[in-house]
Amino acid sequence: MNLTLKIWRQVDAKDKGKMVDYKVTEISGSMSFLEMMDVLNEQLVNAGEQPVAFDHDCREGICGMCSMYINGEAHGPDRGVTTCQLHMRMFKDGDTITIEPWRAGAFPVVKDLVVDRSAFDRIQHAGGYISVNTSGNTQDANAIPISKQAADTAMDAATCIGCGACVATCKNSSAMLFVGAKVSQYALLPQGQVEAADRVRNMVAQMDLEGFGNCTNTGACEVECPKGISLDNIARMNRELMKASI
């Protein structure tokens, strides 16, 4: 298929940036969205132009690096997939596709479609870990029984890959789905109990400091999240913070 692409081009963080139109031809429906971008970049390099900068690494939906706002949706029109897992068969011959970087004050653009998501790292550093010493004297995994339901729910929360689609899609640029998932993955397990109160307090404080907006429960994040992280995690984080504050 032949496509028109409208892509955000921005030389560096200081540049104002603008949308630029490109044409790509003979795109196969079996290509991934990033492979289509590779075709475009090859074309640009051959023509002596700067290729479009975009983040990617694993290209199989597990690293959370790829991040494109495609036709008004984070990771494009498909559900439960990252940009690298999005197939070109979701589009039709002759389509015009708008491609923008994640937009949020807390995710400044570095270049073209690459944004700085280190705000997420700083939130994690504020409390997204446990300090249990596990080297040398590891105890038997079954010494502390954990219910199947708790283990499953914690695992569901832990599947968050930190891509930032939730922030990008939220009308308030709120990071609560991400932080809710990171708080929940520990809140449900015994290992997380020791630091539970400090964890949620510090992570929420860091989230606020980074300039993310305030959740108004639109639910857009849950729909666009490639890992299907549920809003229940935000409710759990709210409960955890209330518990930690009284």
């Binding site: 036709n71 937009r103 004050g105 907006g213 639109t218 857009a220 729909v223 409710a235 709210n238």
Partner: protein, 225 residues
């Protein structure tokens, strides 16, 4: 605890608490107003009680005013902060793909309700305050009206079709505000896990029944004055 209400989640919880109070108030208000259709005499009795009881006038009324003012001021503050959290907006954004119109436009349905509250105050609240607190007339009666004046005044207000139309329009937007707001308030309090469907259904019923009830009363009195 003071740190809690300064956090983003604390503000959400405060917003939800004020909203819970307002939703309870609406239920109570509708229950009394429906009496104006079912039994004008009972409506008069209850109105007189609510209008003169010191507990209602000096305890509940100030709390209500605080809740309303807090809710819309906080609504504006949150809206402003949230729109500032995205400095460059998207060239193309498909909000309808992942969220309801109601959830994305709480500020507009809210502003309509605020305009309604203004109209409602001019219509009912300011005259009441004037009669009771400035003229000092707590009798609940009026010259030319037998018994209490409340029912007569209510019916008189709805003679004007423009007022009925404006009321109906605002109540439809209140319904849209509540269609998102009801479940949202529970979610903010951390309480939806496992009961989502039930809450959504109660929320839908509440968001339809409350505005429909008020609209019905306005039209009923318009047609029967």
């Amino acid at each position: 605890m003071s740190g809690f209400f300064k956090s983003s989640i604390g503000r959400k919880v405060a917003m939800a608490l004020s909203a819970f109070f307002l939703m309870f108030f609406l239920l109570q208000h509708l229950a009394i107003n429906i009496l104006s259709v079912l039994s004008p005499d009972t409506f008069n009795e209850v109105s007189h009680f609510m209008g003169t009881n010191p507990l209602v006038q000096f305890a509940l009324q100030p709390v209500l005013i605080f809740a309303v003012v807090f809710h819309f001021v906080m609504g504006f503050v949150l809206e402003l902060r949230n729109s500032k959290a995205r400095k460059v907006s998207y060239a193309k954004n498909n909000g309808a793909a992942n969220s309801s119109w109601m959830s994305r436009n709480m500020i507009w349905s809210g502003i309509t309700i605020l305009a309604f509250i203004g109209l409602h105050f001019v219509d009912f609240w300011f005259p009441e305050i004037n009669t009771k607190f400035i003229q000092g007339d707590w009798s609940g009666t009026m010259e030319g009206i037998e018994g209490f004046r409340y029912h007569e005044e209510l019916v008189h207000k709805f003679a004007n079709p423009l007022r009925v139309g404006a009321y109906a329009f605002c109540f439809v937007l209140l319904g849209l505000h509540l269609a998102h707001g009801f479940t949202s308030a529970f979610q903010s309090m951390g309480g939806t896990a496992g009961r989502k469907k039930t809450l959504q259904n109660i929320g839908k019923a509440y968001a339809i029944i409350i505005p429909a009830g008020f609209i019905f009363i306005a039209i009923y009195h318009h047609l029967n004055h």
